[in-house]
Amino acid sequence: MSSTRGNPAAVDELKGEGDTSADPPAIWTFIVLDSASFAVFFAVFMAERLAQPALFDASSRLLDVRLGLTNTLILITSSWLVALAVAAGRRGDLRRLRAGLLGGILVGSAFAVLKLIEYITKLAGGITPQTNDFFGYYFCLTGIHFVHYLAGMIVLLVLLARARKSQAVDPELMGWAVSGGIFWHLIDLLWVFLFPLLYLLGRVK
């Protein structure tokens, strides 16, 4: 245990708690690194695609565009609701903050349902990550995105629980809501890249 605890007032001044809600959220470090990783994934996918264009196009046409498009709309809508929640929080409107988060979670949960249906349908049809390079990347990239999505849903649930316990919108709640909202938008943004890359590119004549 640290023996620096319980220091006199002189040190308390150095240690004092401050309102850092006006600072740019430090989560941007995470967002930039994570986005850069996905940029590498996308570049790797495109490089592999150049090597085997016919295989990648034929495999891509086996994906269900309707499911992919619906999931895109689901994530954009959910992201919009979370953006409304954060905007309400900034106005001090706790009721709408909670409602926006709840809406974002409910709409967002449909993404998991459709994604799991898609995975199960593919696996039942004998298509696995080992089928070929395209499906290797399909399962890896959407799987990594799905892990992000699950983390994002947990973040939203924790935020909602925190907002339900609060009596008013405090700076700490707002700080976490802004950071959580940014992370949720990232998940939406990454899918907006993944959808055309995996589902649409193979259909372009």
Binding site: T4, V11, G16, T29, F30, C140
Partner: protein, 247 residues
């Protein structure tokens, strides 16, 4: 620095020395494990077995020196971990769970600087008379352990990241972005789980993601954390001196 003040009680005695173990183990890893050990990048898992054996035997004498250096120096990672934990203790308010987890994570990560290099060292020991398939198997075994024991490092970095983000001081001990970087690395290390499924490509042991991105970020994080740990020790020593004036 008032040495008379610190001589009575200095909770950060030896911590600075321990913190320097971070940059030192980093240099050892780059020189011995990476450069001499022929790991920039490692031999691809897609190499044909005889081509691999020929390439490995040609460099076995260098790899042997590299792995001996890494094994002898690897323990410094644990020493570095202790310095991080001592600084984390100044942030913790309720208990020492996070600093303890970080210490255990660092201590166990130390093993991956010792056991896989021990396996690669074994492969070099009789490289000329060892069958190509056996050489490749030993090389693969080293890499499986090296990449797949990463969860202990994930725990180390996650505990550090959560602690940094929970710092409530007006001037946090570590910058918050470093905490987010730690959490990002903890998460991104999960990508090593894809390594056993690929012999080539971005997720293979020598690929763009699981070698170039992950290891460069890991080493960069070690360097940044060492710098901020050393700065934090200076500040914490000053705080301690201010709160314990010489009598």
């Amino acid at each position: 620095m008032n040495l008379a003040t610190l001589s009575s009680s200095n909770p950060y005695q030896y911590v600075r020395v321990c913190a320097w173990a971070g940059p030192l183990v980093l240099v050892i890893a780059v020189v011995f494990w990476a450069a001499l050990g022929q790991n920039i990048p490692p031999y691809s898992a897609a190499m044909e077995v005889n081509a691999f054996a020929e390439a490995f035997r040609a460099k076995a004498h260098l790899i042997r020196v590299g792995m001996v250096g890494m094994i002898m120096g690897g323990v410094l990672y644990m020493v570095w971990g202790l310095a991080i934990s001592k600084v984390m203790e100044s942030i913790e308010r309720h208990n020492n769970v996070l600093s303890t987890l970080q210490m255990w994570g660092a201590g166990l990560t130390t093993l991956f600087f010792m056991i896989p290099p021990g396996i690669w060292l074994t492969a070099t020991f009789r490289a000329e008379s060892t069958a190509p398939e056996t050489l490749q198997l030993l090389y693969d075994l080293g890499w499986m352990l090296f990449d797949m024991t990463v969860p202990v490092t994930m725990v180390q970095f996650a505990a550090f990241g959560v602690c940094v983000l929970g710092d409530r001081r007006r001037m946090p001990v570590f910058p918050k972005w470093l905490g987010w970087m730690a959490l990002y690395l903890a998460g991104s290390f999960a990508l090593f789980a894809l390594m056993p499924f690929f012999k080539a490509g971005a997720f293979s042991r020598s690929g763009a993601v699981n070698f170039w991105v992950e290891f460069n970020l890991f080493f960069l994080f070690m360097l940044l954390t060492s710098v901020f740990v050393l700065r934090a020790i200076t500040r914490l020593e000053a705080e301690h001196a201010a709160s314990h004036p010489a009598s």
